[in-house]
């Protein structure tokens, strides 16, 4: 193996991992702080510079957590499958780290001749293929723990992930249709200059579906049934402690970044933003800023919404998101053909019609799924 190639690969991948691992630590702090403020609490504010009383708004908390996690006892339950119990967190981390490579980040330290992390024709389809592996890690953890709550959490996770992967992929299909490529860099390049897909009606609908499905894919509230504390303790990682738990935690957050990054690539213009003509490396900053905006919305939603019931979760995926995303593909197909005619008037008409169709379909599906709601009956209480 040539030495230069190895160096190139390291230059491309190591900073990627370091950036996202650091950002992960910061995000946990941010999440705890924001959730606390939403719930009228202060949040972490003690850990700052060691041996002093300087709190720094608790910014030392991730470091303290990390140290605690590493030195904690590693408990494996009796009767657990020791090999799988060890492998599951690693298997959870690998795909989430791997998919980061498919994001079209233009790093300033990489010149044109140097190797990008991954230059794949089908980056988008690879992204979906590899995120799907998370499901197996979750199931593996649930099964290996030999704990009924873990197994329940694992099965819930599997059912939820395979259900929500369909609307996720189908909404990404719209962008692929519009661009005519599966290459992430090409998709991001198509949206240069504010021509983001989210600004079109079909793109917006796809973005909303994608975002909701992404929440479910990464087990974020309100779809955090696999780790519902009030029902099944911590779900699939009930029996994990110490560093293995930290790995699961890391994997979950990295998966959040990855899927937000994909949403940014597909719908929010990738690294597009003002000031690129003067400073080309700003695109990395813009990309990360957009990821953070999406993460902030995820945290905000977690502070707002209660958890769904299992039947509501499944019903929402199959009865609402799936039909809507299929309809959206049709709408986008018509829009693509309308665009070929190259007429302003036809474009306006397409916009109006697609807006009406999508909104009408969404509210119609909402009405259909509403079911018969009647006041709650109490059988025994007077």
């Amino acid at each position: 193996m040539s030495f230069e190639l190895l160096i190139d690969i390291l230059i491309a991948t190591v900073p990627l991992m370091l950036i996202f691992a650091t950002v992960f630590a910061f995000t946990t702090w941010l999440e705890r702080k924001a959730l606390a403020r939403i719930q009228n609490r202060i949040g972490p504010n003690k850990v700052g510079i060691p041996c002093t009383r300087i709190g720094l708004f608790g910014l030392g908390q991730p470091t303290a957590d990390g140290i605690k996690m590493i030195f904690k006892e590693n408990i494996v339950p009796t009767g657990a499958d020791r090999l799988f119990h060890l492998l599951a967190p690693i298997l959870a981390l690998i795909p989430s780290m791997l998919v980061l490579c498919f994001l079209p980040l233009d790093f300033p330290w990489l010149n044109e001749n140097s190797v990008k992390a991954f230059l794949l024709d089908g980056a988008v389809i690879f992204f979906f293929a590899i995120t799907g592996l998370n499901t197996l890690a979750v199931f593996m953890a649930g099964w290996a723990s030999r704990n009924k709550y873990s197994l329940l959490g694992g099965m819930r996770a599997v059912a939820q992930m395979i259900s929500y992967e369909i609307p996720l992929v189908l909404s990404a299909v719209i962008v692929v249709m519009m661009v005519g490529s599966l290459d992430a860099a090409e998709i991001a390049g198509e949206q240069k200059g504010g021509n983001w897909f989210v600004f079109y009606p079909w793109g917006f609908a796809a973005f909303v579906i994608f975002f909701i499905a992404a929440l479910a894919e990464t087990n974020r509230s309100p779809f955090d049934l696999p780790e519902a504390e009030s029902e099944i303790i911590a779900g699939y990682f009930t029996e994990y402690s110490g560093f293995k738990f930290a790995l699961f935690f890391l994997a979950e957050y990295i998966a959040m970044f990855a899927i937000s990054g994909l949403a940014v690539t597909l719908f929010l213009g990738g690294g597009d933003g003002p000031g690129l003509a003067v400073l080309p490396w700003l695109s990395v900053i813009w990309f990360l800023a957009k990821i953070f905006a999406l993460i902030a919305v995820m945290i905000w939603l977690r502070g707002t919404l209660p958890r769904l019931r299992v039947d509501q979760l499944m019903g929402f995926a199959w009865k609402f998101m799936l039909p809507l995303s299929i309809l959206n593909i049709f709408v986008a197909g018509f829009a693509w053909h309308a665009k070929q005619l190259d007429s302003q008037f036809i474009m306006v008409i397409t916009w109006v019609i697609s807006l009406a169709v999508l909104y009408g379909a969404a509210s119609g599906l909402n009405q259909l799924n509403r079911g018969k709601v009647r006041p709650r009956e109490y059988k025994y209480a007077e």
Binding site: M1, S2, L5, D81, F84, L120, D121, G122, I125, F126, F128, A129, I130, G132, L133, T135, L136, F139, M140, W143, M155, V158, I162, E165, S181, L182
Partner: protein, 173 residues
């Protein structure tokens, strides 16, 4: 050179995975070993610059078939299997014969063509070409397959409907 090293590593992973999948008594271990085999295979596809096939291998075999197998296993009893460690089961000679026959049938043509192929021929990554192939010459096959899958889906829904328990009368408890 790089390709050769990668090829041997990936082949070893695939073969080992397949062997463990066959040998393991514990069904869950077997399934995961099978998934390792699939992963090695997808790596080999990637090595052949067949990116789309590799992605589909991961998406369909590891993602979908793996989960399907796991679901099926979770519905069975005695996941851990019997503690029976006999190396070779009874009808082994027939199995070997069948395997050899399949091997010969599958590999006859490629082996015949082998010397004439130019191995160093550069191949262009071909997601687009594959798409055109799927839509143009093979469109009927694709549609028939889609119809078949739809029928299977409807069948699954019907089967699930039929399994529904009779509605219980209002019991006093």
């Amino acid at each position: 050179m790089n390709e050769e090293i990668s090829f041997w590593i990936l082949s070893a992973i695939a073969v080992l995975g397949a062997l463990v999948a066959v040998r393991k008594r514990n069904l869950i271990h077997g399934v995961f070993a099978l998934l390792v085999f699939f992963a090695g295979l997808s790596g080999l596809f990637l090595l052949l610059l067949a990116e789309f096939i590799a992605a589909v291998q991961v998406l369909v075999y590891i993602g979908a078939v793996g989960v399907l197998l796991l679901f099926a296993i979770m519905l069975t009893e005695r996941v851990a299997g019997d503690d029976d460690r006999r190396m070779i089961s009874r009808g082994w000679s027939w199995g070997l014969l069948a395997a050899a026959a399949v091997f010969v049938v599958l590999l006859l043509r490629p082996i015949q063509q082998l010397p004439s192929q130019d191995a160093a021929q550069p191949i262009k990554p071909s997601v687009e070409a594959l798409g055109h192939k799927l839509i143009n010459p093979y469109v009927v096959t694709l549609e028939v397959l889609a119809l078949l899958l739809t029928a299977a889906l409807i069948g699954a829904v019907t089967a699930a409907q039929g399994l529904r328990m009779p509605k219980e009368e209002d019991s006093p408890e």
